[in-house]
Point group: D2
Chain length 381, copies 4
């Protein structure tokens, strides 16, 4: 079973890359975006560094330099290529990276067939699968940025998006009380979801639907980006510095709003949820609307009642440890805890999230200024 | 009664400045520090802009340009001198600023004697007093930075500090349950403390004393600043970028640790609470110690049981709105809410806090990298 | 005679500062501007470091820390306060600096009365006098910047400028041939003027007068700052980055051009030579006019025929060593040679130049982007 | 004849690229380096923009967006991709760019066969050929940087360098007098070489050979990078900021000096001329040696007597217009003149210079901090 899952997940990463040209794998137009070839190598390196090298007797490393090139931020493991340099590396080539994947996959294949897996190793494998799924999502996010910031606006694929759902937003009322928060169950979850604990919530209402492009356009057209009073002080600095006037990927052409999608540049579909807004924008929109963003606890308590999964949703919660949070020992322990400052929690999932990779207790997190994720807005009050 | 308080608070600001030379009022060695003369002018401007100009009939503005020079961040009121420029202004002179204070004080004197104050105005006055007290604290913090970063290390005063308290840290155990958080009472508080609400806390223990210099030195000497595993990822970046090795104001001279105090450069007193650490350092120390920082809710629930007020204490809580938080309308509403992102809450008070300006519900907040406040560490687990 | 000159020059520095407020001595609004108190201390330090300490037996240094504070760029002498920090120092106070001047002046007084001066020392004294005169000029330039960038536009003095000369520009024709360039004589000159040598000049014509504000305004109004074709590539970058539209200190107020002068903000006098343009602007104006800037050799060969001394004049020559240039040994050798890259030569003198400090062979030099000097334009073709 | 030359030059560009992987064409590791695919496109765009579009009736532009992507700095022609963004563009792909070259080459083929060329067009073609040759040289310089900054140090080719010449340096003495400088003849030259004119030179001596790696290593080992006195002030800043200790591409590995060459990482050959030093280093070396760099005029007057062409040679001359310099009208006039500030002249040629592209009057120019060219040192005194 571990092998089947391994193969399925690994193949999905390569399927995502199938429409890319060699050159698309290489560039890094902004520091937060990684070159697709780096995602391919890094997710492979995870299995080599944490499974094959420590557990597979006789395993011969593919290339010792790759540890240097494909490590991301695991300070325990060794020196790494500083992040802004990733887009400067023409070698290893894309072909080399696929060879690296094939080599590691073959070794994993043998290893998974031939061994009983102790619990510890099962845990690492599960983490590796989920890690690769996270990078699948980032792959889509990053290749959208790479193609969407090219002056030729190339399409990634030519399929047509499904029609958006046209439900009208209603508000669920959630009663005051003590709620249980955090992962419950026996499957996989990240360490930051663990430590199920109690949170007291006061009465609140939360929207059944995400904010649409039409609603967001009303915010824009009523001067939302021109009035400091809706914005955090540093959000307003962001507006002034970047001269932001709309979500990422929007282009005003001859009076009409277009946005870059994976099918190319298209007129904005007003019925779709607004996407690619950062936390500052989400917060400013909520202020303008007279409502607010939900906390991550409010979201989790109410989520069984509404549809979610179309967009990552900004919450009003900073990314902080749960009361019973414990870091795992060693390099695995670097996974989440060290990012618990200056980031905001997002809940839900998006169209870029791999199937089976979302949970009601999943805590995603990004810096407040970032727009490049598939991020949307749900209101509460 | 309003007049007596007004005079007492205004005089205290000038008393703090009494030991300064004219030149000390002018400089701004780093962006977060404001020149003392700016604090003097800005706290005066508050009463002119929010009391005299709107309410005192016939009041003649001292100098219309001062609105431009002494506004801080009230976007509602008009253009402001950008913050990094404050230290470039030789005019208005210190003498001019004292004249401005005298002029506004005299007008306030007449105004407060001659008028019945409606509730709205009483609220603004109270806010003005507390605002000036906040700037008194910043004045001390900033003049320490100005003098402590001068290569001549001039003393601010020559009084001797009281002997530190030598109590040994014990831990109070606080039982699980629902606690009420937020300001309760009829006196003054800031809007960010309002909305008393319920928070669920699990069992926890919290230290009776602050961490001492001796304990912190043990962290330093055991390699605390050299091991990434205690640090947040961005805290570690801060260590590497700034080459930090100790709290702000510490100097290692011929093998002995000194720190700059308001009485000049002195050997570090090992029994005193450690001071001038930022959130990254506080968190790393807690990690190293095997404990953690308390949340602001844990702090508030336990505070009646321990002594506090010697140092602002970093908590593990991000600065976010309370459930029932409402911004006041107009410029006053810019006071707190717009800073509620990317900052951490500090609780308590410090030796620089004016008498009468501290409360158990008081929420101070700073960016995680800042060391220049009088900030210390209390542990929990 | 050395003593009389010493006293006269030292007094003139203090006379320049007489109209300043204490606060004006302290600030540094931009990296190229030094606080006036620093000029006062640094020119004093020169005599202490290069005369009193090495030559005056029994001389007791005023304060050893001052070597650190008032050294400028003499790497030979010891660590220095990095240049951007000068404006952060409130101590030594202005009063301290004047005490330092008085102390050194008294020691110099005794020293100059009591000693025969060997040639070597006479040379150092002459250099010290000329060094102080250079700082007198910089003092005026810098205090103009400090006051002119204050939102209150304070005047430095209230005297009225003399009426400008109204001569019409004619062009002197200089015949092709070999010309002698460089200092000739027995008086003082800087090392960069030495090594009189031959330069071949082709026929050229050079203007009898400087370009006026009226002529420069015509350049502005015909789109000079909007058309890249007049500009060097990096000059054009400078225009776009700084959004420059006119010389430094010009302000367009209700459709009229004003400029800040030492008497305050005044309407631009169209008959005066344009001032405070950088090399990029001077070059762009020359391109627009269909002429060019003279080389420093053309300037020197023709200067006996025209009036000069109203403005430093940009030339088309980069600051490079003359053929026989030799650096003096030791710290004195750091005076000029190490700046001979990426700067342009200016010839002439300005209203800020002390009487007796100008020569036809004098080579001033600044980076091409700097506007804060009293810099003007003479054309050639 | 024009067609034969066109084909030969165009083919040579592609020959240079033959050993590259697709990925090597795409990256831009530092702002001064352009991606090879950009050189391929830009040199093609020159012929499309300046020959085909204005002169070839019925020519259909390959892709109008390419004008935006492949323009370099011709402000006359239209908006351009800002320089730091070149390495962010995955599209057009390398294959697309080769198609673009083939399309333009075919159109040029027809055009050159079918038309009599007026003088004006012959001049443009010659400029285009020389422009492409300049980019051939930059291609080699840039691909060396791309591969030499990859942690895998891939080789570009596996040929062995010819043995260096082992001649000992002697000094030619050149007598004082008036010399003619600038291009003379009827062939192609750039506008910056034109205007043959007279320059007076004093007696000087100039080395017969370039400085070798062995001589440069002596400078390094005697503390050349540690002693400010050899350096310009801003050169010394460069040393401290970049922590430079040797020429670009040198790596000290286990006590031995290696450098990256196009054949991979090799021990430094001590008999070869030192390469990849910037002007600051060349000047500091000359100071240390007790000699100096020649001016560009001294170089040109003496060049018939010595071998040159192995390395571009830094001179002591700033890049400035010759006395009779005239810019061409229109976009062609942007070629050289607008760079005549803050750059130093290099004379000679290098192993990367295409055969037939060097002349004794050729004036190359770079900013003083740049090391990535094939730059060496010849001494004079």
């Amino acid at each position: 079973m571990f092998l089947t899952t391994y193969k399925r997940i690994r193949k999905h990463t390569e399927d995502i890359c199938a429409p890319l040209k060699t050159e698309d794998y290489v560039v890094q137009p902004v520091v937060d975006v990684s070159p697709p070839k780096w995602h391919l190598g890094h997710s492979t390196w995870f299995f080599e560094a944490f499974v094959l090298k420590p557990y597979a007797q006789g395993y011969k490393e593919f290339n010792p330099d790759y540890n240097f090139v494909f490590n991301s931020y695991y300070e325990t493991i060794g020196a790494r290529v500083i992040r802004t340099d990733r887009g400067n590396l023409s070698r290893p080539t894309v072909e080399d990276v696929y060879k690296y994947r094939a080599y590691v996959d073959e070794a994993m294949d043998h290893f998974l067939i031939e061994h009983e897996l102790p619990q510890e190793l099962q845990d690492i494998l599960l983490l590796g699968y989920n890690h690769e799924q996270q990078h699948q999502e980032l792959l889509i996010t990053d290749l959208k940025y790479i193609l969407g910031h090219n002056p030729l606006f190339p399409a990634y694929n030519s399929e047509v998006d499904p029609e958006p759902d046209l439900s009208v937003t209603s508000y669920f009322q959630i009663p005051e009380g003590v709620y249980d928060i955090g992962y419950e169950g026996t499957g996989f979850c990240f360490d930051n979801e663990l430590g199920r604990h109690k949170v007291y919530l006061h009465d609140y209402s939360i929207g059944s639907e995400l904010v649409t492009n039409e609603e967001y356009l009303e915010f824009i057209e009523s001067g939302g980006y021109k009035n400091f009073k809706y914005w955090h002080s540093e959000g307003w600095e962001w507006v002034k510095t970047t001269k932001a006037e709309a979500p990422l990927y929007w282009h005003l052409i001859d009076g009409q709003h277009f946005n870059y999608t994976l099918h190319g540049l298209k007129p904005v579909n007003m019925d779709e949820p607004v996407c690619h807004v950062n936390y500052y924008e989400a917060h400013a929109f909520a202020e303008w609307s007279g409502k607010r963003l939900p906390t991550e606890f409010e979201w989790e308590a109410a989520a069984p009642q509404f549809k979610w999964g179309k967009r990552w949703e900004w919450t009003e919660s900073a990314y902080l440890p749960y009361p019973f949070y414990k870091k795992a020992p060693g390099a695995i322990g670097e996974y989440n805890g060290k990012f618990m400052v200056n980031q905001m929690v997002l809940r839900g999932a998006s169209e870029a999230t791999p199937v089976g990779h979302s949970r009601i207790s999943y805590r995603n997190f990004f810096h407040p200024y970032l727009q490049w994720q598939y991020t949307g807005i749900r209101l509460a009050f």
